[in-house]
């Protein structure tokens, strides 16, 4: 399973890499504002610019990074911050499984790179491409994904740098931390379809608000789990 039986026509995977990069390029219009918000807020809340940039490069998970920031500023224990933010990234289990099914025989290199920069955009773009072009070899699929991931990595990092540099110049009194819930509301919108999703979102929001008195954002995990449970039960009842 680990050797790469990539097609003898080695020109194709390279082209797939470039294609993946280019197809992902227009989507960066969505990446950049989030990176700016993260960079600016990180600096505002007390991270150094280098720490903010390192976090973007190492984690590459915008939502989880934005979840972690306010908790860090509040002085929550590191383990709790990591756990809460990691729950956000659990959705990537699905992406990992879906990619694995299409990457049969692909070597360890691309798999390790995917462990670093698998993200929502690259996954969506790749999955779309794989369905559209069933003739792609697994090696080409992996290269396409890596090209897409590189594109996201570059823009996400650059936007964080810009945000971190701008952040120190944002005047006192500007409520930039309020951009975080606005970002999350904007990202939730595409998911808010059908009763199970709406019920999950409403349950999580209500419970989390009710539990807000708990220190360090401790209420977020039970609220999210309750939302997931309600959504799962309702979707089972519907079937």
């Amino acid at each position: 399973m680990q050797t790469d039986p990539a097609s003898p026509d080695t020109g194709q995977p390279r082209r797939a890499f470039l294609r993946g990069f280019l197809v992902t390029l227009p989507l960066q219009i969505a990446t950049v504002p989030f990176g700016l918000v993260f960079g600016a807020l990180a600096v505002e809340l007390g991270l150094t610019a280098w720490q903010a940039i390192a976090m973007s490069v190492i984690v590459i998970g915008g939502v989880s990074q934005l979840v972690a920031l306010p908790m860090m500023a509040e002085g929550a224990p590191a383990l709790l911050v990591i756990l809460t933010a990691a729950i956000v990234n659990l959705r990537m289990l699905m992406y990992s499984a879906a990619l694995a099914a299409r990457w049969e025989g692909v070597g360890r290199g691309p798999r390790l790179l995917a462990a670093w920069f698998l993200n929502d955009q690259s996954f969506a773009v790749s999955q779309h491409r794989y369905v559209e072009r069933p003739e792609m070899t697994p090696a080409e699929r992996a290269e396409f994904f890596l090209g897409s991931g590189c594109c996201c990595l570059i823009f996400w990092t650059a936007a964080t740098v810009a945000g971190a540099l701008a952040g120190s110049r944002i005047p006192e009194g500007w409520p930039i931390s309020f951009a975080v819930p606005l970002v999350f509301i904007a990202i939730s919108v595409p998911f808010l379809r059908g009763a199970p999703n709406l019920a999950a979102a409403a349950t999580a929001a209500a419970l989390s608000t009710a539990l807000h008195g708990l220190p360090y954002g401790l209420g977020v995990i039970p609220a999210a789990l309750a939302g997931i449970a309600v959504g799962t039960v309702l979707s089972g009842a519907k079937r």
């Binding site: 860090m72 659990l90 992406y95 509301i185 998911f191």
Partner: protein, 107 residues
């Protein structure tokens, strides 16, 4: 924030996230994801995002730059524009643009 704390979070979150990503790609790639787990995971974003956002909107801000009523108004505006336009960017830009307006109205 101490540097050790920040780096612990960065490296810890990076490692855990990498393991999540590597799960089916590298650790158990002969296993198919169980349908039940897939259903559960499909509700992760739609639950986690509101769980994080709601207290930030409904609870009083320690900086108090924005009163709760103003935050709720801006958040509702973001949600309505998002649902109306089905555009993530449209929703975010609308919310960001509305924030100074509600701040001014509330002041």
């Amino acid at each position: 924030m101490s540097a050790a704390f920040v780096w612990t979070v960065i490296l810890g979150l990076g490692l855990v996230t990498a393991l999540i990503r590597y799960s089916f790609l590298g650790l158990f790639h002969r296993v198919a994801i169980p349908p039940r787990l897939r259903t559960v995971l499909s509700f992760v974003p739609v639950s986690v995002l509101p769980a994080v956002a709601a207290p930030m909107v409904f609870a009083a801000d320690h900086s108090a730059a924005l009163p709760v009523a103003a935050k709720v108004a801006a958040a509702l505006f973001t949600l309505v524009i998002g649902i109306g336009t089905r555009s993530m960017m449209g929703a975010l830009l609308a919310g960001v643009a509305a924030t100074p307006v509600v701040m001014w109205l509330a002041a």
